[in-house]
């Protein structure tokens, strides 16, 4: 294997003296990796926090997600119970361990938590951030947030704090580096899995017709919470 590695790298190095090599206008790799400069960031996600929330909601709805807004954590379980009842969905939910602090006893829902399993019908997870530009939610894997829960159940409900709605994907990277990168070890800040989710699962593979819910959830419901979760 090491031979292949050396051969490939050697071939790349020799090729750089060829007559047709493309022009590099972006400087050195050291600079780029260290400073990770932003490229053009579309103006679409810009605005005051309230404008970004409105934008986020509009964009998410364009891609078939549904969005509601509640003022505090106490309202989250009630809002979820209402959404499930309104849409005639099962009232058995599995939530991410990150949402254990909520008082689920205020509703009649059957509640458990853990990783995603085949029998799950409705999952409730925490979104780490929202991106106004495209109505995208971002989650990442850790002890409190299993990846499988975002994908296995047919109904996905995501809890997103209003203050975590940003303009662009770049804003999310900045936030992630600040939250997870310790100063001396910033290269290892990235979690095992970072998921950007923009609407429910879809396919156009049968006769180029849009259909929702092929492998991932058929419904994505986003609950925006004004009060910051502790």
């Amino acid at each position: 294997m090491n031979d292949s590695r050396d051969e490939i790298l050697a071939k790349i190095r020799t090729s750089r003296s060829g007559p047709y090599v493309v022009r590099n206008e972006l400087g050195t790799i050291e600079d780029r990796l260290k400073n990770h400069p932003r490229n053009v960031v579309p103006a679409r996600g810009d605005g005051l926090p309230e404008e970004q929330i409105t934008k986020f909601k509009a964009e998410a709805e364009l891609v078939n997600a549904t969005v509601t807004r509640v003022s505090s954590n106490i309202d989250i379980p009630k809002e979820i119970a209402k959404y499930l009842a309104d849409n005639n969905l099962p009232s058995r939910i599995k939530h991410a361990p990150s949402l254990e602090h909520l008082d689920w006893s205020t509703t009649l829902m059957e509640v458990c938590h853990g990783i995603g399993e085949a029998t799950d019908e409705v999952c409730v997870t925490t979104a780490y951030a929202g991106v106004a530009e495209t109505g995208t939610i971002v989650t990442y894997s850790d002890q409190q947030n299993p990846t499988t829960l975002n994908f296995l159940p047919p109904v996905h409900i995501a809890v997103l704090n209003a203050v975590d709605i940003t303009g662009s994907y770049e804003d999310v990277w900045t936030k992630l580096r600040a939250d997870l990168g310790s100063k001396d070890q910033s290269v290892n800040f990235i979690p095992r899995t970072v998921n950007m989710i923009t609407g429910p699962s879809r396919t156009g593979d049968i006769q180029q017709t849009l259909l929702l819910g092929i492998h991932g959830p058929q419904r994505l419901h986003i609950v925006i919470v004004d009060e910051k979760t502790p």
């Binding site: 053009v40 819910g213 092929i214």
Partner: protein, 484 residues
């Protein structure tokens, strides 16, 4: 998959005569280009993003060795392994080795062009491991025993009725009298069938839309969520990617994501964009225990530094296919190998050799639409012409076309003789078809006349008329003076 590039002309004829295929291709001609245009119009910065995406990839190609080393270092720091493979055979064997070590019976797979390029499915099946395609389109064509005909819509050539036939044939555990009229019923059936496969698989095999050097992550973009169930559920995650998939940073990946979905399906963003980095962490409740990256060369280093280097910027969005008059007439299978359309016509000769793919660069009208929609600014018509030139220069024997061109060049360099011969031809053709204004048959030109009539010349040649002085004296001077 069998290579059929050498019979391109025959493939194309068959495709044009295939009515089902033509209906589906018609649908495509209206769908994707229109959606792309709408998405681009909604993004005022699109042109700037395209230029930057191009510059990012150029920067990567200029520093590819350094970026690959940095990427490898990051993957290893996060507990993953990188396996460098010179060719398809080495990649296949490495994948088999990992699968065997994991004692794998089944492997779920999310769509990967590299997977097609190294024919991994056949190889795994031959070695007693069942590969299961999980992208709905890929699943459909796997049931039908076909290769994909489009990069992002692999089953674009299949009608709904054909999907239904395939499902009835394979899903024998379900009641035979079930109603599959509604596409949603087909969707539910596929979801149900594949659900268990996801849960039982020992190894998940994914491609990579990008590899991020900064973090050692692979990026996966899907609309269905199949890639996420493919890497998150099995014990082992294998990523197969070619060396040019590198991008420097998360910011650079974001820029390319912005042009990718818009160019591909006309979405602003695909539904699921995932960054995977190494195996599950100590405290993670789920995720794979092993993480392997197969880093494949398979001819890319030969293209680096050559006049075809720019094709290595390609992000496989399919915009060039969706806008190509040739692709829209013949579909993807006719191209005979893994990569169809304009990008395929440039890349395929580079990867399998010009001798076996010499017809592909000619399968273009050079209308330039592909270049105008390419998010990475790849000059596809220029590269197609370069292949044509190379092929022409390398031709071992003189073809009829070459001899004819040589003769024409000889003639054209002798104006007096040229005009005489030309006058003679025009007079003959004119005499043949003057009555009807068209000619049904011309010797050596049946390629044209078998399909349509040739318009008959209505008199003399331009030069003859000019010299007759119809609107000026014999030297043409008066014309110029009048103009003044």
């Amino acid at each position: 998959m069998e290579m059929k590039t050498t019979t391109f002309k025959e493939n194309a004829r068959t495709a044009i005569a295939d009515e089902t295929l033509q209906i589906e291709l018609d649908r495509l001609s209206f769908g994707f280009p229109e959606k792309r245009k709408k998405a681009v119009d909604r993004m005022p910065e699109f042109e700037q993003l395209r230029e930057q995406a191009r510059d990012i990839k150029n920067h990567v190609l200029a520093n590819l060795d350094l970026y690959l080393e940095n990427y490898e270092d990051r993957v290893e720091k996060h507990g993953g392994q990188v396996h460098w493979c010179r060719d398809a055979k080495a990649a296949r064997e490495q994948i088999l080795k990992i699968c065997k070590a994991a004692d794998a019976k089944t492997v779920t797979k999310s769509k990967s062009m590299i997977g097609e390029e190294i024919f991994i499915n056949d190889f795994l099946a031959k070695n007693g491991i069942e590969p299961i395609e999980t992208d709905l389109g890929e699943y459909i064509i796997q049931l039908r025993g076909e290769p994909p005909s489009h990069i992002i819509a692999p089953a674009i050539h299949v009608s709904k009725a054909q999907v239904e036939d395939a499902f009835r044939r394979v899903h024998t555990d379900l009641p035979a009298d079930r109603n599959l009229e509604d596409p949603a019923a087909l969707l539910q059936e596929a979801r149900g069938q594949l659900r268990n496969k996801f849960l039982q698989a020992d190894v998940g095999l994914t491609g990579a839309n990008m590899l991020v050097a900064e973090t050692g992550s692979n990026v996966l973009v899907t609309n269905e969520g199949n890639a996420d169930l493919t890497y998150a559920l099995p014990r082992v995650h294998i990523v197969i990617a070619s060396i040019e998939k590198i991008v420097p940073t998360l910011e650079d990946a974001s820029t390319i994501l912005r042009v990718l979905a818009r160019s591909a399906t006309g979405q602003d963003m695909s539904v699921y964009t995932t960054f995977c980095t190494g195996p599950k962490r100590f405290e993670d409740p789920d995720g794979p225990e092993e993480y392997h990256v197969i880093l494949l060369d398979n001819g890319r280093t030969d293209l680096l530094g050559s006049e075809f280097e720019e094709i290595l910027r390609c992000i496989r969005c399919s915009a060039c296919l969706n806008h190509c008059p040739i692709y829209k007439a013949i579909g993807g299978h006719a191209y005979g190998w893994v990569y169809p359309g304009p990008m395929g016509a440039v890349l395929t000769p580079g990867l399998i050799g010009m001798e076996d793919a010499s017809d592909l660069p000619n399968a273009s009208t050079l209308c330039g639409k592909c270049e105008s929609v390419c998010p990475m600014g790849i000059p596809l018509p220029k590269l197609l012409r370069s292949w044509r030139t190379r092929h022409f220069e390398a031709k071992p024997t003189r073809s009829l076309g070459q001899i004819t061109l040589k003769f024409w060049a000889w003639l054209a360099k002798r104006p007096k003789l040229y005009h005489k011969v030309n006058g003679l031809i025009i007079a003959t053709l004119g005499a043949l078809g003057r009555r009807k204004g068209r000619i049904k048959w011309i010797p050596f030109a049946s390629g044209w006349t078998s399909k349509r009539d040739f318009p008959a010349p209505m008199g003399n040649t331009f030069i003859q008329q000019y010299h007759k002085g119809a609107r000026g004296d014999t030297s043409g001077r008066r014309l110029r003076e009048v103009k003044k």
